[in-house]
């Protein structure tokens, strides 16, 4: 019959729980290593396999599955069906589930699928209210398209790897396309040297009313994040979701130009 110390027990249990949860949270990386390497453009072995398959049936219909893009709500993975040079179908093999995520996935994925087939490019609009899912979708879509292209070019080996050589050139400035948001256009200009973003700035951003404030709040953060991440996979600034999404879209298009 040990003496019980209720207060001590409550304090200990509370402290142990809080520190345990904080420890668990701090052990998780800020971004997923797998998705980071996928964004870096290295071709994982899976892609080689895919392309071999794709090559075998290059003449007719082929499917290509992109790398899974991790978002903070779960993985997004896109599979496209290509006939000839056209994407005839796009679908999400994986998408975030659970809580509001299920709703958002149900809302966004059909729209994104339709947009891909309509636009034939990864440059599709973010579905508002499902920013993360949309961004993940686009990233995985890009990788699916890259693989489909790789498979197609494998069939014609004469076209060698010319892009990497170009990437090694000196510093250059690239301006992305104008991304329309509901508060106004966003356009991003980046300076790239040796394949790295050394500077990012907004040429245009929403102005007027709260938009001015939001632009002032968000753009410097987004500029810094773009340089730090070296990709369009940057976090939205909370409170400036639309501006962030537009920024990312324009940034992506600038990066696409850089990639050749």
């Amino acid at each position: 019959m040990r003496k019980s110390h209720p207060i001590r027990r409550v304090v200990l249990a509370g402290a142990a729980t809080v520190s345990g949860i904080v420890l668990l949270l701090s052990l998780k990386p800020a971004s997923d290593p797998a998705s980071a390497s996928a964004a870096g453009g290295a071709v994982p072995p899976a892609a080689a396999q895919e392309s071999a398959q794709g090559g075998a049936q290059a003449a007719g219909q082929s499917t290509s599955t992109g790398d899974a893009a991790q978002t903070q709500y779960g993985a997004v993975q896109v599979r496209i069906t290509v006939v000839g040079n056209k994407i005839t179908k796009s679908e999400a093999v994986q998408a975030p589930q659970g809580g509001t995520s299920t709703q958002k996935t149900e809302l966004a994925v059909p729209k994104l699928n339709a947009a891909v087939v309509a636009k034939q490019s990864p440059d599709i609009d973010t579905v508002s209210g499902a920013t993360y899912t949309s961004e993940g979708y686009k990233k995985s879509l890009q990788s699916a398209i890259d693989k489909a292209n790789a498979a197609a070019s494998a069939a014609q080996p004469s076209q060698g790897a010319s892009a990497p050589a170009q990437g090694a050139a000196a510093s250059k400035t690239l301006t992305g396309t104008v991304a329309q948001t509901q508060y106004g256009p966003v356009q991003v200009r980046i300076t790239v040297s040796n394949g790295k973003i050394t500077k990012a700035e907004a040429v245009q951003a929403p102005q007027g009313g709260t938009s001015t404030q939001k632009t002032e709040l968000a753009v410097p953060k987004l500029n810094a994040a773009a340089v730090a991440a070296g990709s369009a996979d940057i976090d939205s600034v909370s409170g400036a979701t639309y501006t962030s999404a537009g920024y990312k879209k324009s940034l992506q298009s600038a990066l696409d130009q850089a990639g050749g």
Partner: protein, 460 residues
Amino acid sequence: MTTTLAGGRAARRQTMRRIRPRRSPAVPLVIALWAGAAAVLWLWWDNTPSLADNTAKILAAGRITGLLAGYLMALVVLQMARVPALERRVGSDRVARWHAMSGRYTVSLVIAHVFLITWAYALQAGKSLGDFVQQFMDMVTNLPDMGKAAIGTGLLVVIALLSVGGVRRRLPYDTWYHVHLLTYAVVFLTFWHQITTGNEFAVQPTAKTFWYGLYGIVTALVVWYRILTPLRLNLRHRMYVEAVIEETPGIVSVLIGGKKLHRMGAEAGQFFRWRFMAPGMRFSSHPYSLSAAPRPDMLRITVKAIGDHTARLRELRPGTRVWAEGPYGALTAQRRSRGKVLLVAGGVGITPMRALFETLPGASGDITLLYRANSTQDLALWDELATIADERGARLMYAVNSPDGERPDISAERLRQKLPDIDDHDVFLCGPPGFAQSVYDSLRDAGVPARRIHHESFEM
């Protein structure tokens, strides 16, 4: 001379053969509990690739607290499912303390979960903390099963508030108990949102199966041991009040008749939860120990009239139907590991000790009973105890206040003086909390190892 010695030795050997100490399964159960908690955390860990920003971290903390709360909720209910392994091996008193402890912890986790998830979703939607309530209402109205979950959580908070020490003492036991039963509704109402909105369960089918399995098993155990087992017991044994006897002022014995009562599996030292089908008594059941070894046609409980319920026992009419659930309690001969036994009873704590005094196997001189009461008039069942002591060659001692009200000395020295080999005894202890604590301390000082002091205490 030699024959008696040989006889004594043979008797001793026979006693030792009948002593089969059974370990309490408390340690493996606690290990299983931690393993389960680790598995639940793994569900989260495996499902979360990265945490991008503070919003994601808050959301993750909300999910962790939610998962743990869901897991513990099942265990808190399991602890009260009256599973024999818990009630008879770990001990009802200990399990009740676990229940209270884990219940409080679970409610805290639930509150943290609600707060963290709402906060994270509000941040995600770009809302300020001022829109907290609005965000909460959004979630409750828009997400599947969240309406039910909100009602369940509200109920849970009410139940928790009514169980806080000070409030509970002011509440009639019956009211508190029946409100407490609403926890089953809480578990039902809050279960579904875990499955439908819980990220881990939506994504991982194995996790979902695991969760259904956990709650399914707990439900099955509750139905089996809280409903079907008592139903069968009472249909089989059909108990009724045979007589009510006043032992000493304020202490009554109730004799209970029925069919094949020795087949109920009750051992000396155990108790049943009794419900008497008399006006004002049928809606609540109370735990009372058997004060004699069960006989085929009769059980006996002995109760001190302190509360409403115990006072009414005195007015029970013979023939009143009795509904019993049990037997429960781990203060039985199974706990014993030594040949010699000291039983210590304080006041009405004599009831299980009286039954053990009569039935514990032992040769002459092996069993000692120390009975503490305020005065010699308060030594209920004394005549019976004296008869048993005579028949078995057991020792019987009492300690009462001196005429000027001074308390008797039950110190380590005094105990060692009376029983020089006290450190080679198993001690069974039953009495009011203060008394039990002080005797426990004296026993430890006298050199009795903690694992050989067996006691039951229903103080939370």
